[in-house]
């Protein structure tokens, strides 16, 4: 069974076709990358999977559940966690609060329980705090739980975004260019981290990535988008050898790549 699957997804904005008839799946426990030149529709595709954009044609499934055009918070609640290309943390909330926000679908206490501070609600809050601390420790910024997100360093903000997405207890983790702005050493460490997350949190990972060394090291399957269409799909080795991909993307970009 696939963790997340798109069937013949097309997204149109007026006359512009941003994603054209893309079928795609992340197998359970797999790590899949989406690559493609700028403007290929990668992030749009991400936004479709997470419900931020509406699908014009086609269907999206999480597990075997049809989530096509569900509201973003419903999809998130079904276990799809994501990060954003240009980090979107809650800047004026602490790291801990950021993580706790994403526990929203899992916390049961309502308004009355919160106002009254029932034992159940307080226990839930205590557990939420512990989980948040654990997650922050897990991504390596446990010492910054009380910092405002905007005051964290760029790298720590990236980690916080991952911790926040993990708080949803996702079955799929979607990472939108997670290594943007990292140097090669940091990127290498990051790939190790992705493997660790997958094993320890038992989830599937979908990455959008520009850094070819990361893509080749981390992914089991690679999907290539160009101008909204899927032009290739396969193992990293197959993609590396694929002539169309080289033409569309690698050929140009490879010169500038740090390998």
């Amino acid at each position: 069974m696939s963790a997340i699957r798109a069937e013949h997804v097309t997204v149109r904005f007026g006359g512009l076709v941003a994603v054209n008839d893309v079928s795609f799946e992340v197998p359970q426990g797999g790590i899949v990358s989406i690559i493609g030149p700028n403007g290929a529709g990668k992030t749009t595709f991400f936004n479709v999977l997470t419900g931020l954009y509406e699908v014009t044609v086609g269907r999206v499934y999480v597990g075997d559940r049809d989530v096509t055009n569900l509201a973003p918070h419903r999809i998130a609640g079904l276990g799809v966690g994501r990060t954003f290309q240009n980090i979107r943390l809650f800047g004026l909330m602490t790291a801990e609060e950021n993580v706790k926000v994403a526990m929203h679908p899992h916390l049961r206490s309502g308004v009355t329980a919160t106002v009254l501070g029932t034992p159940r609600q307080r226990r839930e809050e205590r557990e939420a705090r512990e989980t948040a601390r654990e997650l922050l420790d897990f991504v390596g910024i446990g010492g910054s739980f009380g910092e405002y997100a905007r005051n964290l360093s760029y790298g720590d903000q990236r980690r916080l975004e991952v911790a926040r997405a993990l708080a949803l207890r996702p079955s799929v983790l979607l990472l939108d260019e997670p290594t943007a702005g990292m140097n090669p050493r940091e990127s290498a460490r990051f790939t190790d981290f992705v493997h660790r997350v997958r094993v320890e949190k038992d989830l599937s990972v979908l990455l959008i990535e520009h850094d070819m060394s990361v893509v080749m090291r981390v992914s089991e399957r690679v999907t290539v988008l160009d101008r909204g269409e899927r032009i290739a799909e396969g193992t990293p080795e197959e993609i590396r050898a694929n002539q169309r991909v080289v033409e569309a993307y690698l050929g140009k970009a490879a010169k500038g790549q740090r390998t």
């Binding site: 979107r88 800047g91 004026l92 308004v111 106002v115 609600q121 405002y148």
Partner: protein
């Protein structure tokens, strides 16, 4: 970028005897009681002339109504970041709930339930405490009804539509003396008087339970203080819970919030509904304070004054808003007039200071925006962003390291 578990364990927070969310409401109650004692023993302490001039009871009571409503607005504007320019609507609905349910207005009915008047009097007469609940419930319903279509809009558009509703509802009450032949609000003639409140009355020597008369302001003061404390308590509790975090998250970034599982519509509606509840309580309290529901009083300036209280006090901070509401209401009611009189006696002038009310008010607003945009007692996080010279968004590189960051760290430490 390392992901190893190398950070030291954070030190556990210091144990405190009174939980944080209780400390402030308790403090408020104690301050309220001290103030009460001050008034109660005013004659004995020789402070009566001073208090009657500068802090008359009626002003204090009205200021407390403003506090209750401003705190409600704070949930909508300060917590959830939804600009609402029509909060007077809820104040009015609360007021008219009191008008309907505890007066002789519906003279063709004869409904009594723990009311404060003899059962042979016509009209609907519920106990004040039940009317409080009814006003809160009705406002919640209206908050959700008004919110459901409008909250799909964002920022400026939302502000305009709420402005519209803030105009419509008082107008409905104003023209409600003939709705298809039915009189639902008595129009400009207003619903007055309303039943007295049956409660603990403070006497010169002790207290008794009876109907509060127009001169039992000190007794009503106790009720209003308790109501305000209740709203403060609610605000603080909610803020630290799941809903409060969701509000802040929406205020910060709607898209990210929804991608993290926060239902936008529900969460915003909750802010609107709960804010409206406070407005309803304030409205009912106000009706007993002025002894009626007067259509002419519910105008746009109330919404704006409430907003000014929230902004000047410190958006999002319950204490700032409380202080802002007390100060502004006091200046409007008494402070300016008395200060003007004092000035005129001192210098032999005859300036009518109260007529310059809005000039001063506007001036203070401008000065505040120039020198202290975050309000008198701001929320730590708002101060952080407003005191920054260039507002870079999150993720746009590191923020300049200056004394601000240190301040932020200190505040973060306090919050732990």
């Amino acid at each position: 970028m390392g992901y190893e578990l190398s950070r030291p364990e954070p030190t556990p927070p210091r144990r405190r005897r009174i939980p944080a969310h209780l400390r402030w409401p308790l403090g408020f109650l104690i301050a309220g009681l001290l103030f009460f004692l001050l008034h109660y023993y005013a004659t004995r302490l020789g402070l009566k002339p001073f208090l009657d001039t500068w802090l008359p009871k009626s002003t204090i009571n009205e200021a407390l109504v403003w506090v209750i409503c401003a705190l409600g607005l704070n949930i909508v504007v300060g917590y959830a970041g939804l600009l609402d320019l029509g909060f007077v609507a809820f104040w009015a609905i609360g007021g008219y709930t009191a008008g309907w349910l505890m007066s002789g207005f519906f003279h063709f009915l004869n409904v009594h339930f723990l009311g404060a008047v003899p059962t042979d009097q016509p009209g609907v007469h519920f106990s004040f405490w039940m009317v409080l609940l009814a006003g809160a419930a009705l406002c919640f319903v209206f908050g959700v009804l008004i919110g459901a279509p409008t909250l799909r809009l964002r920022s400026d558009y939302l502000a305009l539509v709420t402005l519209g509703f803030g105009e419509i509802i008082p107008q409905v009450f104003r023209n409600g003396d003939n709705v298809f032949g039915y009189n639902i609000s008595n129009g400009d003639k207003s619903i007055t008087p309303v039943d007295p409140v049956r409660s603990v009355a403070i006497e010169a020597n002790g207290f008794s339970v009876r109907n509060l008369g127009p001169f039992d302001e000190l007794s009503r003061y106790l009720i209003f203080v308790a109501l305000a404390a209740l709203i403060i308590f609610m605000s603080l509790r909610l803020r630290d819970g799941k809903l409060g975090r969701a509000w802040l998250a929406i205020r910060e970034d709607e898209v990210a919030a929804s991608a993290m599982g926060v239902p936008l519509m529900r969460t915003k509606l909750a802010a609107y509904g709960i804010g409206a509840v406070a407005g309803g309580l304030g409205g009912v309290a106000y009706a007993t304070h002025v002894n009626g529901a007067f259509a002419g009083r519910f105008n746009f300036s109330i919404s704006i004054t409430l907003l000014a209280m929230v902004v000047l006090g410190g958006m999002g901070n319950v204490w700032g808003v409380t202080l802002g509401a007390l100060v502004i209401a006091w200046v409007n009611q008494t402070g300016l007039r008395r200060a003007g009189e004092a000035f005129n006696t001192q210098f032999g002038t005859e300036i009518d200071f109260t007529s310059y009310n809005f000039l001063l008010f506007g001036g203070v607003l401008v000065l505040m925006m120039l020198f202290r945009r975050e309000g008198m007692l701001p929320e730590a996080r708002t101060r952080l962003v407003l005191r920054e010279h260039d507002k870079t968004s999150v993720g746009q590189d590191a923020i300049e390291v200056d004394e601000l960051d240190e301040q932020a760290n200190v505040e973060a430490g306090e919050r732990r």
